[in-house]
Symmetry: D2
Subunit: 321 residues, 4 copies
């Protein structure tokens, strides 16, 4: 059964990759805590999360070995057990490694792939589109979610490039950075590609562009799947009052992270911030960060912990709803 943009509806939950206690040291191998990974996946799926994605930025795609990505995605796929679509992150430093990894993870049972572009040098529009075309040609029929992260991949995907990417049948969605470009990009891609806004902007974006925006992503499903899925249900039911209330609560939780200012430097620490957030939320055990993204300045620590604590409150409020 072919997966299309119309299948991307609801909450897209992005998972962290739980780590063994020794994961912070360069000498460690097999640092995926597979028991915790299975437990986490079950929690997220049971809570109703519609679609699962793995190994993006805070899921440590960069700092996992190829073996660890395979083990983790295998574990997630087995735990999900076809109850949901699973998109596995396969960003590497080049086209061929990304294709190899993609083929391997599809063999391991992933339904589709979550694909950032190589980042040693910035790719211009032409090379960026060519990269996704190559991946699509190498893995025909495999659904791809484009990863649009200007900080990681050295540039925003332009409107022109989105137009060309949306024309590829394999490209069914894109994790979008949000901000000024979202509404325009959503109009550009139309029905050929689902753009995924950040959870906190999902409601607003869906109201502006109800044809395209039918799903939103969150990196906090392993903190608090209950409120996020409640938001998803409210948006699907077009219960705008309820959605607005939960949306505001989710923003309140996330906002703790930004209290310290300097938004431009914030994303450099997204991996250690995520670990602290999961730790403080208490639902799963993230374990230590993997090298080299081991630490963060004091200034961001308090906000990350407070963010986790707020998600924990919301989880408590919504878990029995």
């Amino acid at each position: 059964m072919k997966i299309t943009p119309q299948d991307i509806v609801g909450l897209v939950g992005i998972l962290p990759t739980p780590a063994t206690p020794d994961a912070g040291h360069w000498s460690s191998q097999n640092t995926v805590d597979l028991d915790e990974s299975a437990r986490m996946t079950e929690i997220v799926v049971s809570a109703g999360t519609d679609i699962i994605m793995t190994t993006g930025t805070f899921g440590e795609c960069a700092s996992l070995t190829a073996n660890e990505v395979r083990d983790f995605v295998g574990c997630v796929v087995d735990t999900v057990a076809k109850r949901r679509l699973v998109f596995a992150g396969i960003t590497t430093l080049n086209t061929r490694d990304t294709i190899s990894r993609g083929a391997e993870l599809i063999d391991a049972g992933a339904d589709g792939l979550f694909v950032g572009r190589p980042m040693w040098l910035a790719l211009d529009d032409k090379l960026l589109v060519r990269f996704y075309k190559d991946v699509a040609q190498a893995l025909p029929g495999i659904p791809l979610v484009v990863y649009d992260n200007p900080v990681a991949f050295k540039g925003k995907i332009s409107e022109g490039a989105y137009r060309e990417l949306a024309a590829l049948p394999e490209v069914i969605a894109a994790k979008h950075i949000g901000g000024a470009a979202l509404d325009n990009d959503a109009r550009t891609v139309g029905e050929n590609c689902r753009l995924l806004p950040l959870g906190g902007d999902w409601l607003r974006a869906a109201q502006v562009n109800p044809e395209n925006i039918k799903a939103g992503w969150s990196g906090a499903v392993a903190c608090a799947p209950a409120p996020l899925n409640a938001l998803s249900r409210a948006i699907k039911a077009q219960n705008w009052t309820e959605a607005a209330k939960i949306s505001e609560q989710c923003q309140w939780a996330e906002s703790a992270m930004f209290a310290g200012g300097d938004l431009t430097a914030f994303m450099d620490y997204s991996i250690p911030i995520a670990h602290l957030r999961f730790e403080a939320a208490g639902l799963i055990k993230p374990g230590p960060c993997r090298p080299p993204y081991l630490d963060l300045p004091e200034n961001y620590r308090a906000g990350a912990l407070e963010c986790g604590a707020r998600w924990a409150k919301l989880q408590k409020e919504y878990q029995n709803v």
Copy 2:
């Protein structure tokens, strides 16, 4: 009486510059709504705001004419009537224009100056320090607040440059961008220069570095001076429980702006976002934006309005406290 870093205590409120109805058109002159400016200043001062600053980024230092800056600062100074210290923003494209403007505004009654550096070309550490030395030498004894805004001025002030700036007697404080560098920069400058964190991070920063962090800045005093001054009183009284509660509320208000993601592009729209925020908060009439910073993408509009609405709620909650 000489003003020293020890005089910079409490809430530093940064004012917008209320605009006449025709201010959005290139042909308009004298676009400062002076009646509203006086009314706003009185509101902010009466609410207890400890120190007043003008004409930073959202105060439209860039897009006011020299005459308008003079008229506005004159109006603020007259309204404050020596009840508070007033620091007037004098950032221009070069050292000499900044010095001339500074001399003029000191003559008009400002107590000190709020100084960003020229930004056509980025200044390296040596030239940056030289710029502030030149201003200090030209205006001896006039207290200066350094404006550290990496996006506007093309680079963060480094730890080494802070060390040299703090050694200038005229430099008594710096409006800091926050983030990773704050705690370290605060240790570096020690008692010679007050670093001003963003309101939302003030409490945390003050607990980490109680010797240096005794004041915080906010651009929302013209939205809601009551909760911000309540926060200031709580921090001064070391009433941490109360401060934490209000701090969280302020973060909740501010957070509405960030819901849409793409934090890196956010600051490009800080002027129109501020106008919407003040409009929605309803306490003052900001009037239209001045050219060229006239508009913002849809995506940021909703968040700005929501932010203003939240400040209005907090103002209502705290105004009679």
Copy 3:
């Protein structure tokens, strides 16, 4: 007589602003060396330079006072005495100041204006186009040369924005940054707007796009007008062999500046580099830099001096041709 894009043909020479001996100090006023300015202008015009532009980046538009810009442009206009078109640079921090300055310099005899956009905050496409529309509406019929400098003005002018700018009758040309975008931008604007490549790329660009590229700019006419005008004549005469030879010589002269690497930081020092280059070339006396752009790291000094020395050699070779 209306000036159109078709009038922009040949070498566009951009002038520095010669400084009095005390120009480096913040206390100096009237720092334009008017005698040297007149002498320089006469040299550049006599050498055949087709079009004159003033007060761009290295012409210290940022660090001249409004009075000094007026005095300098007046001097250039008087010296040129209608033998050539003169475009005066009017970049400021906002739309209204740019318009006022433009009106003043047109009154002083400039034929057109050289216009960069306000740079405190980056302008998106919509606001950027609106800025130029406002200037064109305020100064109807006055020919404008757009200044496209991504480092100074925080972003490249996009293809879409060029399309809209070219549709404004007042916008007759743009000083282009060159690089990857030039050929494409030139196709986009077609005959409605002349794109001006850097001298060293003029020959190549003219061969790729002979319809649009009929003029090139150089900031070295005050170093060595003779070889640059010889290049201009060769390109106009379609004497490609001769043009290739001179083009290579000009590149050789310029290349001395880039020997030290770190191209990304290079432009931060373009003002002091230019002063050293003119000094070493020996044709004019640039005088000291104006604050704050007073100095450069050692590493760039040698290259700047060598660059000037090479231009001096070429001037000697071509001055009697």
Copy 4:
């Protein structure tokens, strides 16, 4: 025999990785042209190049598979046959993969490693130093050349970080970006770490800082090893007149690449530019680029070809010297 900073003297030649005719397609594997790789290495070594480095940016470290890196470095090591030191590039997306690759290539016979840092997220000073400490601890006694490329790795290595890196016995040198920071960084690291300037700046830097600057790097040894080694010999012999002459010729060759302007975008195309340069120089057969770095805008093509042609002229001039 332990390799120390004092062993890094003369010309450090960085090699491209010759590609098989099908290397541009995503489906190709084993794309290293090993015969040509051996032939190229022999040419470079026979010409006198003092030290060999592989798999940096234009050597396509990013777009080679792990197998291909191993095959290529093995081939280089075998061809060099202990006549020179060989440093193999091992930059990956994380600490552990870099360590594994380093261990493998040392086993294959490399004398040392050329190490850029992970780049998905920017590393601050603390994490950057920790990364190199981890690599040094994992590969004790193995000499490391730090790769300081601000565009690729999202930030310049600061003076403070250089100080700490130089204190690691394994860190014996750093490929430096040049520019403003070089002289200062060289003073900072002193005798503990050799900083390698770009060939065109080597002479100047060596005269400013003769204690530290005893070697320079070039990516053009596979275009024209003869003039570069002649430069190296002249500098070693302190024959400054001869060195200045050759240095200028080398700058003349390189300068063709910069003619088109827009220096800030230039580096995004360094891989395809290098392929064209080698092709035009004619000494080796570089073969096609590997995905995704497959192509470049027209504007850079002419300059790259001209650059290669100039190197070919210089090679002819110096090959029998």
